[in-house]
């Protein structure tokens, strides 16, 4: 009877655990906020918003596919989903983002808000 625990599997799980922890730490390292928010549904870019240029907050409804709605709120320097009719509403749970790396994702509606550098402004790195 084979009672021995396969050591390779333990090593594999440990490796994945260590790798994922390292990845999470790397992902959440402090970064310069990226000011351009790019909103896309099904891989098609619908809107590009310069968060740095927003002076007054506003909301708009994304309904690229009829019946699949996400209410997006834009504030000076931040963007987030405030309401969605998907079953889990995880996009709302992800809160507001200042563009520091973390995209906002709604899997059921295939909506992504990603961030990139604003090419219009010069900063110390791209200058």
């Amino acid at each position: 009877m084979k009672q021995q625990t396969p050591k390779g599997l333990i090593a594999l799980v440990m490796l994945l655990l260590a790798g994922s922890v390292a990845g999470m730490l790397w992902m959440s390292r402090p970064t310069e906020p990226k000011q351009m928010a790019v909103l896309s549904v099904d891989g098609t870019v619908l809107q590009e918003i310069d968060l740095g240029a927003v002076t007054q907050g506003y909301t708009f409804l994304v309904e690229e596919v009829p019946g699949e709605t996400n209410l997006v709120e834009v504030k000076p320097g931040a963007i987030g989903v405030v309401e969605a009719n998907c079953p889990d509403a995880l996009c709302v749970g992800q809160g507001f983002s200042q563009g520091t790396g973390k995209p906002i994702v709604c899997l059921p509606h295939r909506m992504v808000i990603d961030f990139r550098e604003n090419e219009g402004t010069l900063d110390g790195y791209t200058g």
């Binding site: 599997l9 799980v13 099904d42 749970g93 995209p103 992504v112």
Partner: protein, 170 residues
Amino acid sequence: MAIQDRNHRKTLTRCGLLTTIALTLFLIEARLPAPLPIPGAKLGLANGATLIAVYRMGWKWGALVLVGRILLGSIFSGQTMTLLYSATGGLFVLLLLALLRPFTTEKHLWLVSPLCGVCHNVGQLLVALQVMGTAATLYFLPYLVFLGILSGFVVGVATQETLKRLVGRI
């Protein structure tokens, strides 16, 4: 011939039972509010039923339980995207189980299940990458691997303890 036929019927009944259990767990889980704002992360208790089917009856029966649960689960939850995500995740888990089954036993579920969790989440993420057409979803990869291991471990231990108490009954 008659005995073989009866055994076959028994196995089929067990699979039906396991599919029912898996579907119930799946639907209850879908009703619970998600504890973390990480897209695609969940406990995945239904996978316990797949594990039982694979380790007690072989991976082909396990595949039957898995496909049954995924199809019925997405019909009952009314989510078309769920079908795509969980079918790919499920396929990855099946391949992994077919690979691991020959040199593991029921006593290794605590170790096999975390790998299932990772496989499922990575499969889902690949679909998300494809559907969303953006690499942004890759940000969640380390989170999904980490949570896949944690939830897989919990499910694995729960399944192993269940099997201990089900000796000879399923």
